[in-house]
Amino acid sequence: MDINKLIKEASAEWTDLLNGPVPAFLVGNATCGRSAGAGNIIEKLKSEISAGSHECRVLEVGCIGMCFMEPIVSVYRPGYPLIVYGNVEEKDVAKMTEAFLEKGEIINYNIIGVVGPNEQLDKPDLFNIPVMEPQKRLVLNNCGLIDPTNLNHYIANKGYIGLQKALQLSSQDVIERLKESGLRGRGGAGFPTWRKWQFCKDQDNDTKYLICNADEGDPGAFMNRSLLEGDPHSLIEGMVIAGHAIGASSGYIYCRAEYPLALERLRLAILQAEQKNLLGNDIMGMGINFKLKVKEGAGAFVCGEETALIASIEGERGMPRPRPPFPAISGLWENPTIINNVETLVSAARILQNEPGWFSKYGTKESKGTKTFALVGKIKNTGLIEVPMGTTLREIIYDIGGGVDNGKKLKAVQTGGPSGGCVPASMIDIPVDYESLAEAGTIMGSGGLVVMDEDNCMVDVAKFFIDFAHKESCGECAPCRLGTKQMLAILEDIVAGKGTMEDLDLLEDLGKGIMKGSLCGLGQTAPNPVLTTLRYFKDEYIEHIQNKRCPAKVCRDLKYYEILKDKCTGCHICFKACSVAAISGNPKELHKIDQDLCIKCGMCLDKCPTKFNAIEVYPGNKVMED
């Protein structure tokens, strides 16, 4: 089919949505929207609309990034901009349909912002509110604003124009465009994308493969998921462009099975693209072929590593193999293979959709463009963000994230997941770019950004990551398999109050040994979370070892609970809540915790009514008086 005809049809449909006579409700129904109850909102909307007498559309859109405001519902109504509402509850739905459809009014509360010309409403533009203002949405521009199941919505927003342009260029010229853009890999290591593509293009081989790494192994990150759920065609466009550049006519998307919605959206998008000749043979009549298949991951972190991923697609155990040969030379079934992250490929599509210079005008000298982050943990505004490279952690945490939740003190920021490290609060003025983060001992990673506050114990966090790495080690290299096990055992001793000062040196030596002696990136980076916490939070380790105290009151053996004499009313609630009968006391009398019996589960503290607040937790261990 002629792409220009497709564009014409798509724009007509899109204009009709924006300015046509029929109003539309857009409901954020990505994974976090669903988790927050978007499904019920959609059902309720549909039943209200069918009960009324007005025509109205209900569209399911992706993640707009403000997950803390979910469920999010936006409204298009003739003559008005798009109005975006947050924290919508089921009971609001009837009020909304009544106001919008029956009475022609606007509901004035819970408005996050508006998109589009906005004279008659005195509401802020969505992209100027504090959460959004420091962001630049080059990659996430469609997420939450288009219907990901509607190809026309994508095409009407520059979709597949990048592919059209790319197919008019030679492979080498496409690579030159990537070079000019300065794009570096978004999957972790930050290798220049054009250079990787050039390697593969220069291979003289009839069969080549392109693989999209959508395994998103960093536990605590969901940037790729949101892109796949909210804008799947962007990835397809990016992949066909990359296929053309490197000379591959088949591609795989290796997506984790834990993302059922992303998989569903991808499969549908592939079908739609095939029907419109945007995938398959002789794409757009330009003589280029590209087939695309989806492979589901099966829950192994190591399969994010390139050679393990290839083994997994071949139907094998996901064991990494030595490099060289690099996959660009000998990869899938021994053919030249390029593996790129989802965000890298979507960025490539955007770069081709826009003029040269558009992408590289954002970012720093060495790190161009933007980066998406999953902003999570102890932060007020959790969600998915996209900022220009070079934005400081402070801007991300305070301006966008709204600061630490519950008025607590910021302690550390973790980036790069199990391969990354913890940056202490004192260093949050560093800019987010590949080099600055590496200097601080961590990595950019794929975009996980976990905020930790004074209630998080850094020894516990280190133990958490080593435990993860140990469980996920494929077992091939002894340093990785046994070294992480030993580091875990040492950390377990420390959190149990059985650590020694020598353990700290041992942790460092082991860490360095594992990094040197491991074959793949998993082992080579697994000690990072321990090494950075040792570097920045040594005092906290020492507190655990020498004073047997967990200052954050996380480690069980190094904290205790106590009932406050002057606050306890003897309501007896904690007595009933304690599963090991460690609490004694008659109703209406002072209660007491037997420290020998207490298993420090914290149930009593949770259960003691807030109006009494009679239970307190302290670091260390209580010496029994009687």
Partner: protein, 152 residues
């Protein structure tokens, strides 16, 4: 052969590279990988049993025991961890009387860890069958899993 398996196999060619997708589809159909189904898979994909077991045991997704009616996936991701997932896990285990990796005798509940379910912005969270329960607190867990809870 089990009809479900015939069904599953009909959408494959029986090539070795299809082994993982076959295992996934069989598990979807049966809820777990039974010994019998492993043998049938080996025959269908024309690979030795040891290969089928080798691959299946490598990946966390595959299970060899039946799931409970309510299958609970506990997120062990970073966001959930720093927001108190260990405590949530303990509470659920207390309420249901089974531990991570186990299935209750009456086959009502089973529980396993998963790396991350992608709803990290609403941590801590778990998956009960297809439904994400988000922003969990011990109080919410009680509502969900106590003897009167909707998941009991």
């Amino acid at each position: 052969m089990n009809n479900n398996l015939v069904d599953v196999f009909s959408s494959f060619d029986g090539k070795e590279e299809e082994l993982i997708p076959i295992l996934q589809k069989v598990q979807n159909a049966l809820g777990f990988l039974s010994d019998d189904s492993m043998e049938e898979i080996a025959r269908f994909a024309r690979v030795p049993m040891s290969k089928v077991f080798g691959v299946a045991t490598f990946y966390a997704q595959f299970r060899f025991t039946p799931k409970g009616e309510k299958h609970i996936m506990l997120c062990r991701g970073t966001a959930c961890h720093v927001k108190g997932a260990p405590r949530i896990q303990e509470e659920i285990e207390n309420h249901l009387g089974i531990k991570e990796g186990e299935t209750s005798k009456d086959l009502k509940h089973s529980m396993e860890n998963v790396a991350c379910i992608g709803a990290c912005s609403l941590a801590p969270c778990i998956l009960v069958n297809e439904t994400v329960e988000a922003n969990l607190t011990p109080q919410k867990v009680e509502k969900l899993f106590s003897s009167k809870g909707k998941n009991k």
